[in-house]
């Protein structure tokens, strides 16, 4: 009798356990967004959450955990329970924050699901600026150290690092131009409009209104290939500077999340990001699409982590 009871219990337990896996998700899933409500990353997170909800039939709730230059949200995402019910909208900062001493967290603290976006940095100046191309500009900066002011966002953010990396590739010291830190791309656009700085580096779509109205001209984008939405803007590589740089976003889960769940999430997300709705959404928001699978995304983060280590050291941001 006892044996039967034990066997019965085991059987029930196994059924529940297997049913548990088969039915992921069986309750709501939290999507942690490390950036504020209404910003670019938040918009992407909310789009993905809505689509995941449709695909899985369980609520996917976006929670904004902001602060610490991304450290708070990424930390919350990495240290959450690794049961598949906490996913994080990972951003580039996971590869830079720990070098700057903002957190102990590294890219190794996550398991990777999928990369869904990449936005290259661009070099933009006012239309009345004397420079014809990016070479012109960089030669001028080299010849007149300390004369020109660059901006794009805060110190040590991706748009600053993009500039430092570009300078390094052509042998210009980091301090040959002054970096004017701002709270983001939009305030630096105001600075450039008002003539308070000379050059900005940020993603092209962020300044699309000014480029299209002819107030700004884009000298280059820091990507491997031209952006189909701005076919006239050459890449740095075309102009002989071997440097690509930009921000990226993807989906990750805490380290140790069951493989089956990661796989299921990857397959569902992959379906979403290859859909027309996603393309349309990203296009309207001015975001670029770049998809890497779990393994490629992990390797990409690993490679980025080393790139930024070097650039952060150059900029004097590394701790």
């Amino acid at each position: 009798m006892r044996k039967v009871l034990i066997l019965g219990l085991i059987a029930v337990f196994l059924m529940v356990a297997s049913a548990g896996f088969a039915a992921y998700p069986e309750k709501g899933v939290t999507v942690i967004c490390p950036w504020g409500a209404g910003g670019g990353t938040d918009r992407v997170a909310r789009f993905m959450a809505t689509e995941l909800e449709k695909a899985y039939g369980e609520p996917f709730v976006v929670v904004n955990k902001t602060g610490g230059g991304g450290a708070v949200g990424h930390g919350a995402g990495a240290y959450a329970k690794a049961d598949g019910y906490n996913i994080t909208l990972l951003t580039l900062e996971i590869t830079t924050m720990h070098w700057m001493g903002l957190t102990k967290l590294t890219y190794e603290d996550f398991d990777y699901v999928i990369q869904i976006n990449q936005d290259p940095s661009a070099v933009m100046v006012r239309s009345d600026a004397p420079w014809k191309g990016v070479k012109d500009l960089l030669n001028d900066v080299k010849a007149n150290p300390g004369k020109y002011k660059f901006s794009g966002s805060g110190a040590g953010t991706i748009w600053d690092l993009s500039r430092i990396g570009m300078f390094d590739k052509v042998g210009i010291p980091v301090d040959a131009a002054t970096w004017i830190p701002t709270k983001g791309a939009a305030p630096s656009i105001v600075e450039l409009l008002g003539g308070h700085v000379d050059v900005i580096t940020c993603s092209l779509p962020e300044a699309a209104a000014q480029v299209e109205s002819g107030e700004f001209k884009a000298l280059a984008i820091m990507a491997d290939t031209r952006d189909t939405r701005f076919p006239d803007v050459p890449t740095l590589k075309e102009q002989g500077i071997d440097w690509s740089s930009g921000t990226f976003r993807g989906i990750a889960v805490p380290k140790g999340t069951p493989k089956e769940i990661v796989k299921s999430l990857y397959e569902t997300c992959n379906k979403i990001v290859t859909s027309d709705a996603y393309k349309d959404f990203m296009n309207k928001n001015g975001f670029g699409i770049k998809i890497r699978n779990s393994e490629e995304f992990y390797n990409f983060c690993k490679e980025q982590d080393m790139t930024w280590k070097k650039v952060l050291e150059l900029g004097g941001y590394a701790k």
Binding site: G36, A37, G38, G39, G40, D42, R43, R46, F47, T50, V63, N64, K65, T66, G67, G68, G69, A71, V72, G75, M100, G101, L102, T103, G146, K149, G154, A155, G156, T157, T178, W179, I180, P181, T182, K183, A186, P187, I189, V190, E191, L193, G194, H196, A208, A209, Q210, E212, S213, E215, F281, K284, N285, G286, Y317
Partner: protein, 496 residues
């Protein structure tokens, strides 16, 4: 595009619904207008662009007004822009005039909003061009000017006010410094790296300190429920406003201009308007004790500032505050490009936005009155229950802003600070000003110095800076300068 376009059902229904949502958001501390707009944007993608924009405009104007409701009734600002509304509004509630104060507040919000929108419609491009002239140097002085209001707000004792303001500045330095990316006063604590949240601090300083005060009170709280006249007569309301029409107009103009600057928003506008009104008043001693100017000035200014924030957004495609930052993202989703070309390429849409903004003000009257009625029932409860409600609101609000438990501790800590400060008669508003303006002053000073390679001269020579400096000198020493002139003239007379 005719006026009827915006009165189609597909626009009108979401518009009115979003205004109802605004009552809820504004009335709940910790839920900000920015958050409301962020929540509405994903819904609005399924709608007509004008319907989406109507929802955004509706919810933002409504929640900036309704933020004043808990500020007036419970001493907890519902949104950051309502910080200044606490001062005289809550005093009036204690005198049993809470509903009257809010009705005045509502009509001033409407008038202020109208003035802001009219300025947006009539002179947006030149005002936006002017706002572009503001860079680090000018923002620095604007921040200092705002801070000089603390001397006005500290009712009598300037030293105590200064202590409070400086502590506020100190609090504002916690967290990652944007100029160098270096964490300060964070002690390795990730939560502190994001800085001390302004909303938890403000909710603690005003709300929790009031709860603590009541806990210490020797009277039985049950017996001390406030007798509030919920019926407010229109003639009394308009009489009070009409007598102070210049206060309203001045505050609305200040609000619009501050709003139009991409680096300052409705919260700063409200404080500056309040401070200036007190400074120029013939009876400054009545401020903070429940005077109507103290209600009219900040509330006209914060709603006017909303119109102002749309000026750089539409003219240059650069956000005037966090709400318009989200709006710009939403407009791109609709396939629109805010910026210099929108007036030509989407003239109809711009006209639609203007009309919706104007009519939102009119709709705000009934919606706001309903809001006052709903929240007014709270006042019928006995004090001991109201204080529990304040506590719950404070906790939920502090948590909601960043979904962070840590912010609740911050809020409680500031509650204790607020209570102790009021005990030793250190005024709280200067501290709030310090927390709001600290980053603006510090970042712009340091970034300005980076721009000038360490020289202070450009901070002094620019015409806008010089006007701001003059204003600051007059705020601090106005009365003494007047005295010196008087003295000089008297001497001359004696010599002659």
């Amino acid at each position: 595009m005719t006026i009827l376009t915006i009165f189609q059902l597909k626009i009108l229904v979401p518009w009115i619904l979003s205004m109802g949502f605004g009552i809820l958001v504004g009335g709940t501390p910790g839920l900000t207008a920015t958050m409301a707009v962020a929540l509405i944007v994903p819904i609005s993608y399924y709608l007509d662009p004008l319907a989406g924009l109507a929802m955004i405009l509706g919810v933002s104007f409504t929640s900036i007004f309704t933020g004043d409701i808990p500020a007036t009734f419970l001493r907890i600002p519902g949104t950051p822009a309502s910080g200044a509304a606490v001062l005289d509004g809550y005093e009036l509630t204690k005198q049993g005039k809470g509903s009257l104060a809010l009705t005045i507040d509502l009509f001033c919000s409407v008038m202020g909003g109208l003035i802001g929108v009219l300025i947006l419609i009539l002179i947006a491009p030149p005002l936006a061009r002017f706002a572009l002239k503001f860079s680090s140097f000018q923002y620095f002085w604007l921040g200092v000017f705002g801070l000089s209001m603390s001397s006005v707000l500290s009712s009598g004792n300037m030293t105590r006010g200064l202590v409070s303001a400086l502590l506020g500045l100190l609090v504002s330095t916690v967290g990652i410094d944007i100029t160098t990316g270096y964490p300060r006063f964070a002690f390795g604590c990730t939560e502190l790296m994001g800085g001390i949240g302004f909303i938890p601090a403000m909710v603690g300083l005003f709300g929790i300190s009031e709860v603590l005060k009541n806990v210490r009170s020797k009277e039985r709280l049950l017996a001390t429920s406030i007798e509030d006249k919920l019926k407010v007569s229109a003639s009394e309301t308009f009489g009070i406003i009409f007598k102070r029409k210049w206060t309203l107009i001045r505050a609305a103009l200040i609000g619009t201009c501050v709003g139009a600057l991409p680096g300052a928003g409705a919260d700063i506008a409200a404080w500056v308007a309040y401070g200036l009104e007190k400074k120029t008043s013939s009876h400054p001693e009545k401020f903070g004790k429940g005077c109507f100017e103290g209600v009219i000035a900040p509330t006209s200014a914060n709603n006017a500032a909303l119109g102002g924030t749309w000026i750089p957004a539409l003219v240059f495609g650069v956000p005037g505050d966090s709400i318009t930052a989200i709006v710009l993202g939403a407009m791109m989703m609709y396939g629109l490009r805010p910026g210099p070309l929108i007036f030509q390429q989407n003239a109809d849409l711009v006209k639609g936005i203007f009309m919706i903004a104007l009519f939102s003000q009119l709709f705000l009257i009934p919606v706001g009155l309903i809001g006052i009625k709903i929240y007014g029932t709270i006042l019928k409860l006995p004090r001991n229950i109201i204080m529990v409600i304040v506590l719950v609101f404070s906790i939920v609000g502090s948590f909601a802003i960043r979904n962070s438990l840590f912010d609740i501790y911050i809020m409680i800590a500031f509650g204790v600070v607020g209570y102790s400060f009021e005990k030793i008669r250190i005024p709280l508003p200067p501290m709030i000003l310090g927390i709001i303006l600290g980053p603006m002053i510090e970042d712009n000073l340091r970034v300005g110095l980076i721009k000038t390679a360490g020289s202070f001269i450009p901070f002094l020579t620019d015409p806008i800076s010089m006007s701001l400096i003059t204003l600051i000198i007059f705020t601090f020493f106005g009365s003494r300068i007047g005295g010196i002139f008087k003295l000089l003239f008297q001497n001359n007379d004696q010599d002659g």
